[in-house]
Amino acid sequence: MKKLINRRGFLQGSLAASAAATISLAKTTEAATFEGYPDSMGVLVDLSRCVGCRSCEAACNKEQNLPAPEKPFNDFSVFDEMLHGQKRRTDETRYTIVNRYEIPGREHPLFRKIQCNHCQEPACLTSCFVNAYTKTPEGAVIYNVDVCVGCRTCMVACPFYIPAFRYSSAFSPRIMKCVFCHETRLTKGLPPACVEACPQEALTFGRRTDLVAVGKQRIRENPRAYVDHIYGEHEAGGTAWIYISPAPFEQVGFDTSVPKEPILNYVKDFLSIVPMVLTVWPALFAGFHLLATRKDKMEQQKKNEGEV
């Protein structure tokens, strides 16, 4: 006769197995917390310096061979453009844009440059199921069109609404976003085109760790000129592009509700259970089923034996 496992033994075994699985998975997720490549580069954006000349937009357009703009880059009427009640944003024709913000109590408006912030632990990257995104050791978040399936999950995942989709092209649709001039400049140690074009040095290029120090120094030496915060030092788990501002960040169009930890952290715990659910649960419930139906089977067997 077949050796049957008793109910208690099975339950004990399965509980122990699932506990072991959970613990070992928890350990690996903790170790997987990534704090960025040590010598990765970044850009410090000083909003008190930007005068809204749009040179960065022009430089980006040229460097990335983007389509010609509707209005020339020194036409400042674009600052008044509104679409669906929102100021201009990055799209398939422009990887970066500058918007103007009137700040109550300030004589002059402030300008804010928007582009991909190149997160240390990018949400676009972790949301992509075909690994189209790569965070390079230089600090850029780059995109590989060859593997992209066009699901656009990255556009939903990005806390800064940066990746744009080239809907205009039926035959070569793709994600369009700032790549930190990775291939043309960053890998050669050169600053991105927008940084080089900025006349005001509102954009400072350097190692991210140094830039955090420079930003803190500017705030320390001119405490009345800045809000005591570096946006991007911790936002979304830290970004390569970081900002200092003379006005509260929410007044300059920044989303201050962006969490101070990587977006991935919100799903990490859940995702770590998925393998356990897929491996342990089938065995567990198959076991329950077998135990529950054992009596019936044995009776059936007896009946059969009796009949014979």
Binding site: P72, D75, H108, P109, L190, E196, P199, Q200, T204, D210
Partner: protein, 182 residues
């Protein structure tokens, strides 16, 4: 030989006063050139004929040259080291502010040098604009790009000026509208 001790004393005092005051004497605008042609960065914009004489009447030396002309610098952050700095050997912007900015060696070398205080020193282009623009805005001087330097043909291409009908229709508006206005 008979030496008058009073004469010796007088000579000594004169010498002492002479050596003490000369290095302390600050440069003044008489030492400065009348015009400076700023052309080292000219590419998208044409060179600037900068009337140094005119600006020297409107601002003090230290407003632009920091501590290098021997005048005491007013920025409290500079005064910590440069309170009594004498006149520097060079006072031209480009002698301290490098034309090339953020090149690889500079990015790492400056940050890794613990003895270097000027880690946040702007490059030449940044230095010019950071110094000129705020004052121009304050004094209602031209503060739009082409108020100081005209675009070159390369510059016009760079900004996509006139490469479409719209651009041609209102280039004047685009050129003169001041982003600082309001």
């Amino acid at each position: 030989m008979n030496i008058n001790p009073k004469a010796v004393l007088a000579a000594a005092v004169l010498l002492l006063v002479g050596t003490l005051t000369t290095p302390g004497l600050a440069m003044d605008q008489m030492d400065a050139p009348e015009t400076v042609t700023i052309d080292t960065l000219a590419n998208l914009y044409k060179p600037v004929e900068f009337s140094h004489k005119r600006h020297a009447k409107l601002a003090r030396c230290k407003d632009c040259h920091h501590h290098t002309t021997g005048q005491e610098d007013m920025d409290p952050n500079c005064i910590r080291c440069h309170a009594h700095s004498p006149e520097a050997t060079t006072v031209s912007c480009k002698d301290c502010h490098t034309q090339k900015q953020f090149y690889p060696e500079q990015v790492t070398a400056t940050a890794d040098n613990p003895n270097l205080y000027h880690i946040d020193k702007p490059g030449l282009k940044g230095a010019y604009h950071l110094n000129c623009v705020p004052c121009h805005v304050k004094k209602n001087a031209p503060s739009n790009c082409e108020g100081c330097h005209a675009l070159t043909d390369t510059g016009k291409q760079f900004f996509h000026l006139g490469d479409q009908a719209q651009g041609k229709a209102n280039p004047a508006k685009a050129g003169t509208k001041d982003s600082h206005a309001r």
